[in-house]
Symmetry: C5
Subunit: 102 residues, 5 copies
């Protein structure tokens, strides 16, 4: 899985029928910065994910990729390869807490 | 999933039998540009995907990869690892709308 | 899926039993060149794929990756993650036809 | 699979119900350094994985990705794409032993 | 699939129970060098794979990734995402034979 920040959303009116009603969010994966591991930096990549936990723009979330994105009650059998499965509250590295970017 | 622009199509007359009749489109994944997130840029990569929603060249679409590409009525059991599952109408980031490239 | 050129083949005499008799080809994925999209360039990567359509060295083919490589009659249940599922005859981008490299 | 060092952990209070009670660790994949292959270097990437073997921060572990992350008793049917399946005690290359970073 | 050279092995005494007795090898994927395609070069990446064919250090092998790594008698249901499924004896490109590095 990876941590990512929700930066936006997309609207798709013409889509596969099973996808109707699914919230489609734009996320940017984050990584700890080198050496210090004291900050979360964007990787600059852009993914579209389905939200299963009521997350909103600006939040840092936990995303799952691949077939496992179908292993929640809401997403079972959907043609999706990425889903949000949690909201990240705290990030701990050694003795310090890494701030969640906002 | 990822957003991508349809740039072309391919013709394959000799292929696995189950693939007969499937439209094979060329897409280029898109990403939001750094910092501003006000534009969608091509990543320069080239994928071949099966269309399930009647999309056409020039349109920006939502693509799914991996085993989940088989989770639509049309693509069930096909030997494909990527499919278009929606046409992207609008992209929202914060308070602004990101233009769909054409 | 991706387009690739067949550049060679490998021989493996000691292998998993279910793989006996499978033709193992070397392919290099191709991508459209930037902006013009008038040529197919090699990505320089090297993959080994199983052939299911009688393709030969020098041909440009359509390859599938992941679990879907097992979704042809010939490859069902094989321990493979990539297969050729078609031979590419024509590549169309906008109003022009992209030459197939040989 | 890949070797990785555990650098931290995350807390997620709002998450998919099946994930309650799962320990979420931050890992950085490692690779042998070029030529000499005498050291393990971080790739600088950041993944979140579920622990199944009681590993702790600072340890070097073996991680599995994709659907196979669901093939342990503890993780069956979880919406996860990465899990720790072993603690790495020794790394051997040719006649020497590569030190485990701490 | 990809070709790789076996460079070492790892020892993991604390691991998922189903993994007991599995040989864990370190491999470096190989690619043909540009243009000439007359040599196999290391990509510098490091993967851990399960051996199913009795391969040893220094040998060049064929590796499969993802769920298909579970499609051999020995690896069925194991939490692994990569396995060796053959030993590479010969590599042919056009009219020449590419030497197997040792």
């Amino acid at each position: 899985m990876f941590m990512a920040r929700i930066t936006g959303s997309i609207v798709s009116s013409q889509k596969v029928e099973s996808m109707v009603g699914q919230k489609l969010l734009i996320v940017e994966p984050l990584r700890l910065n080198d050496k210090a591991r004291a900050k979360l930096n964007s990787t600059g990549r852009t993914f579209i994910v389905v939200d299963t936990v009521g997350a909103g723009e600006g939040e840092v979330v936990l995303c799952v990729q691949g077939s496992s994105a179908r292993f929640t009650e809401q997403t079972e059998k959907l043609p999706i390869d990425a889903a949000i499965v949690g909201i990240v509250d705290q990030v701990h590295v050694g003795n310090h807490t890494v701030p969640i970017p906002n």
